[in-house]
């Protein structure tokens, strides 16, 4: 061995790195192309989504956005030295015009151990008074687009002027009867994870007495200043038990299922609003009204940037990206709220759903597939997780 080690001549030659890189790009492009498909209700009725837009969008689409997001999240979870925190967070706030005066630890920024911790900050109590309106903003941000959906039409929503996406692709479509191709597992929460709210207390929102009946859409308008609607008998002091989440393994939305919102009440319409949260904004989100979340659908999608620049160029942006569709009802019928992730904020947290994991490592499921959970045992009366206007629901965190 010593002889061979000494005598064997060493020959140096350049490795064809470029060839390897090109090979990787070609393999990635072929993989992407095999995943691409048009957002059409293709013959079997399933919803699949295509990447459509200028060349910049395709370059972004070729990048490993989810891995980049996870690396970004990991770096921002690293604990920062105490001496750098105040300066660092002030610089971040200056760059992204975040208002430090209203955050929980505005007097001592060293309490935020990492940028991820600072990003997921809370505000001081009372910083955001809840208006007495039917619908309030669930987050700090900018209204990207809003309006009424022509529910007689093809159920497409305008993302911004001129670009639209399919509502069925955004929310997923109902699946067949129970048991068809899916497993339902009860995943009980630890006690204490959830706020215990007495049904009675819950029914008194913003000083307006809602009877449960009115709240969940079986009655008329809220009984202002009048006694709660006695017709809704509820066990005195009944509290809402911890939500236990019945996990349903998602299957590709199948043939001919009804949309999540197909039966609108007479005289009702379908409305939408899109709110964009900038990097410097407060990133926890709150309940926009008094409603009951019955189920959630997690779509493990891409993580394109959702900036207004991108929203104006990439059609189907909101049905391509990782998102969690929370579906339920309020007193006027169907209600849903869909937090959509982005490259820097790939993680979506829901306070009453510990089982949810977004932006996880591993192979992305085919576009349009979702994992569904139903909040069946959160409240025996409401059959879902009840929320009051302004109640904190969760938030977006880095990575």
């Amino acid at each position: 061995v010593a002889e061979a080690w000494k005598e064997t001549p060493t020959t140096w030659y350049p490795l064809p790195v470029a060839v390897g890189a090109l090979l990787l790009v070609a393999l990635q492009y072929r993989k992407k192309r095999s995943e691409r498909a048009e957002v059409d209700s293709s013959p079997d009725g399933s919803q699949v989504v295509r990447l459509k837009g200028p060349w910049q969008v395709h370059v972004l689409g070729a990048l490993p956005l989810r891995n980049m997001s996870r690396v970004w999240g990991y770096l921002n979870s690293l604990e920062l030295p105490i001496w750098i925190r105040p300066t660092g967070f002030r610089l971040y706030s200056f760059i992204f015009s975040a208002d430090l005066s209203e955050i929980e630890h505005s007097s001592d920024l060293t309490k935020y151990v990492s940028l991820g911790d600072f990003f997921y900050r809370r505000l001081k109590p009372g910083s955001r008074p809840i208006a007495e309106a039917l619908l309030v903003s669930p987050a700090d941000g900018r209204i990207l687009h809003l309006g009424e959906i022509d529910s007689e039409g093809d159920g497409r929503v305008e993302q911004v002027k001129g670009l639209s996406y399919s509502l069925d692709a955004l929310l997923g479509v109902e699946r067949g009867e129970k048991g068809e191709g899916k497993d339902v597992i009860e995943v009980p929460f630890k006690r204490g994870d959830l706020e215990h709210v007495d049904d009675k207390e819950f029914a008194n929102v913003n000083g307006i007495e809602y009877s449960l009946d009115q709240l969940i859409g079986r009655g008329g308008s809220p009984a202002k200043d009048g006694p709660a609607d006695a017709s809704v008998e509820q066990p005195a002091g009944s509290t809402i038990r911890d939500a236990s989440v019945a996990m349903e393994v998602g299957v590709r939305p199948g043939i001919g299922r009804k949309s999540s919102f197909s039966e609108l009440k007479e005289g009702s319409g379908l409305f939408f609003a899109v709110i964009y949260l900038a990097p410097g904004d407060y990133h926890r989100f709150h309940s926009p009204t008094a409603w009951v979340v019955e189920r959630r659908r997690h779509f493990a999608g891409e993580l394109f940037s959702v900036s207004p620049w991108m929203a104006r160029r990439l059609a189907n942006l909101f049905v391509l990206n990782e998102r969690v569709a929370l579906l339920g009802r309020w007193k006027h019928g169907f209600f849903s709220m869909i937090p959509v992730g982005a490259t820097n904020v790939g993680s979506i947290k829901i306070n009453f759903d510990e089982a949810l994991r977004t932006n996880v490592r591993g192979r992305k499921p085919p576009a349009g597939t979702f994992t569904e959970a139903v909040y069946s045992a959160a409240s025996p009366i409401l059959h879902g997780q009840p929320l009051r206007p302004g109640q904190e629901m969760g938030g977006f965190s880095l990575g």
Partner: protein, 32 residues
């Protein structure tokens, strides 16, 4: 990140904000 709201409401529902407007948590978005 982005939050999309899709909901059913009586035809008389109207938004009290416009596209492009900055909003804060709890600010009125619309009413009947």
């Amino acid at each position: 990140s982005t939050i999309v709201l899709v909901f059913e409401a009586p035809k008389g529902f109207g938004f009290s904000v416009k596209a492009g407007e900055v909003v804060r948590v709890g600010q009125a978005l619309g009413d009947i």
